[in-house]
């Protein structure tokens, strides 16, 4: 394999991994606050369709990103209301969010299915950095949302592990009763990070409809929201590790396409199965490894917090 092909594959892996990365970062925040949100797929879909509609009518992809954030945040706030205030089962609430989002996005997107987007995000070269050998053409000939994700990750890592607010967030996820007795407003923390998580999932969805595809079609996410939930476990709830996971999954996605183009004798259906089977295998391996190292989910993940039961 020549270097050029390798560079092309790795660059596509980043592009394909970016929607997963945004969604996984959002889910990390929500789960760090102790709320499991299985509505990622639904939030991404609603983000994708709202982003596309906004970008289509304003001719500005950034307006699309903002609309997607708002839509994803609004979807997430339903989940927050149900699970934080009404203490509903987080698994079922998240599932209904996904089913609801699939329907809502299909409904809103019906009139614009397949419309091409005139002003999608375009790749551009980062001056200086794009001339770094090997790394440059892989990482720095991307589009604005990819560059934005390069900035968000270190910021989020710093926030989680080096700031007091980040510490409070982690405390809420690990032990909400203790956090509460320290004067942290547990309910507010949960609301805030579930909603920010939804905004990030919205961006992930919009990346698909504004850059990766770029058009709207029903179920454009094709299970990527669920792969993002798996990525959170893979990343052991650490944003820095989510990068690696997202790009590996993106690479598998891209590899399927590349093999298809190379006319290999494997039916396309089997190549399309790759990311899903890969997710299962990775999840099994990672769960075993985490258990051995005693790395686990935030202690209170999935449990409703009831002040009277402290």
């Amino acid at each position: 394999m020549s270097v050029d092909i390798l560079i092309a594959i790795l660059a596509t892996a980043i592009t394909a991994g970016t929607p997963l990365l945004y969604a996984a970062l959002g889910e990390i925040l929500a789960e760090r606050a102790g709320i499991l949100n299985l509505g990622v797929e639904g939030m991404m879909l609603v983000g994708a369709v709202s982003g596309f509609i906004a970008a289509h009518y304003t001719s500005s992809p950034w307006a699309g990103v903002i609309a997607a954030m708002l839509a994803g945040g609004a979807m997430a706030s339903i989940h927050a209301l149900l699970t934080v205030t009404l203490r509903a089962n987080q698994i079922v609430s998240g599932l209904s969010l996904t089913i609801f989002g699939t329907g809502l996005s299909g409904y809103l997107g019906k009139p614009i299915v397949g419309t091409p987007l005139e002003t999608s995000f375009k790749a551009f070269e980062m001056p200086i950095m794009s001339s770094i050998p090997f790394i440059g053409p892989i990482m720095f000939k991307q589009d604005a949302l990819v560059y934005l994700s390069y900035i968000i990750i270190p910021l989020m890592w710093y926030f989680l592990y080096r700031t007091k607010t980040g510490l409070n967030l982690r405390a809420v996820g690990e032990n909400p009763a203790a956090a509460d007795s320290l004067g942290i407003n547990v309910f507010r923390v949960k609301y805030v990070y579930v909603i920010i998580g939804g905004m990030l999932a919205g961006i992930g969805g919009a990346y698909l409809s504004l850059m990766y595809v770029p058009t709207w079609m029903e179920n454009i996410t094709a299970g990527r929201g669920w792969i993002a939930v798996a990525l959170v476990i893979f990343a052991t709830w650490n944003p820095a590790q989510a990068i690696l996971g997202a790009y590996i999954f993106g690479g598998i996605d891209a590899l399927g396409f590349r093999l298809q183009a190379m006319d290999i004798m494997i039916p396309t259906y089997f190549l399309k199965m790759l990311p899903y089977i890969f997710t299962i295998i990775v999840l099994i391996l990672v769960t075993g490894k985490n258990a051995a190292k005693h790395i686990g989910a935030p202690q209170s993940l999935g449990l409703p917090y009831d002040r009277e039961e402290r």
Partner: protein, 364 residues
């Protein structure tokens, strides 16, 4: 704790057991509120909600044809809802109903194509067995890592849905494609003996009887047997179950096998009763809708019969509104919204809600 102001307005006290009135009232009110919210949404997007709902209702239940079609669509929801409810009872989140339906259909088709000349009393039981086995084994794949390593079954069961659908795609576009099918992604039609009998001149097929009988059997298993009791204990307090010496790992595998087998039967019944061949995308997400069907009834197998009929009606109503230019996706929106209200309403069952005057937080 003076900083928390949500507390001072509404206070929640845990009830010891949900009241039976609330058990009926909450789903009924939820349906009403979901329709109301849907109406506001329809009005906001420029549709006439009353017209949409009346078209939907008439399409589903207004004519004899609509009503029988609603029952036809209810059959796979009933079977899959039952399958999922068994697993959900144990807090085992089988989200893979859709894939198990597809694998059940695959197993049933294999037998139907293998035994074209056998009589119905051989072929139909063989298809049922193969469908149940294929669906069940498909569910065991994620059950094993769940049982022995604690691997999250929500994600693995869901991932297998995509794999199963692609597998069926491969078959109907490839080796099993009907040579006389004008290149459509379908297998050849089943022989007469591979087709479930129907009632009168309707399309309602014997799958309905299978579903009702299974609902009763599963009800009895869950509430009247030691096995069912253990499933419920594991679901409600796994710690106590382990302390009582129950073998949880083995139970996970058995329950997933049953759950997947019943979902597989849903696939078999849909093919043998309705499509009479395997075709691409024959299930419009029955496995996902069945999650709502099961949860709406609080996992009561007998209640699932009624909920499946309601949702079958929504499916048919969705086709009716589509002809009037309203996307059929409005149906899954309503269904998802319905579950929100059911979930929110559960708090009324589990807690006594009281609104305090603004005197402060003296109750807490």
């Amino acid at each position: 704790m003076t900083t928390d102001n949500t507390r001072s307005l509404i206070s929640l006290e845990k009830k010891l057991s949900p009241s039976p009135v609330m058990n009926i009232l909450v789903p009924v009110i939820s349906v009403f509120l979901a329709l109301l919210t849907g109406a506001i949404f329809l009005a906001l997007t420029g549709k006439d909600p009353i017209q949409v709902y009346s078209v939907m209702f008439n399409g589903a239940f207004g004519t004899k044809y609509g009503l029988t079609e609603s029952i036809v669509k209810a059959i796979p929801l009933l079977l899959a809802g039952l399958g999922l409810a068994v697993a959900f009872r144990m807090q085992l989140w089988n989200i893979g109903g859709e894939g198990q339906i597809y694998m059940g259909a695959f197993g049933a088709t294999w037998l139907a194509l293998l035994l074209p000349d056998q009589p119905a009393w051989v072929v139909l039981p063989a298809m049922m067995l193969a469908g149940a086995a294929a669906g069940g084994l498909w569910a065991v794949i994620p059950a094993i890592p769940r049982a022995y390593l604690g691997v999250n079954e929500i994600i693995t069961t869901l991932m297998l849905n995509y794999v199963a659908i692609l597998w069926v795609d491969y078959l109907v576009y490839g080796p099993w494609k009907d040579p006389a099918g004008y290149n459509f992604p379908i297998t050849p039609s089943f022989s007469e003996s591979a087709i479930l009998p129907t009632f009168g001149d309707t399309r309602i097929h014997a799958g309905l009887l299978i579903g009702i009988v299974l609902a009763i059997i599963i009800y009895l298993i869950i509430f009247r047997t030691k096995f069912g009791y253990e499933i419920r204990v594991i679901g409600e307090s796994p710690g106590a179950a382990r302390y009582a010496g129950m073998n949880i790992s083995r139970k996970i595998i058995v329950v997933m096998l049953i759950s997947g087998a019943v979902c597989g039967l849903a696939g078999m019944a849909e093919l043998s009763g309705v499509t009479h061949r395997l075709q691409q995308g024959f299930s419009p997400g029955y496995g996902y809708t069945a999650i709502i069907v099961a949860w709406l009834t609080r996992l009561n197998p007998l209640g699932i019969i009624i909920a499946a009929l309601l949702f079958g009606g929504m499916q048919v109503g969705g086709f009716a509104v589509q002809m009037n230019g309203v996307p059929a996706a409005v149906v899954s929106m309503l269904q998802g919204g319905l579950l929100f209200f059911v979930l929110g309403g559960e708090i009324l069952m589990r807690y006594r809600v009281s609104i305090n005057s603004c005197r402060g937080d003296d109750k807490a």
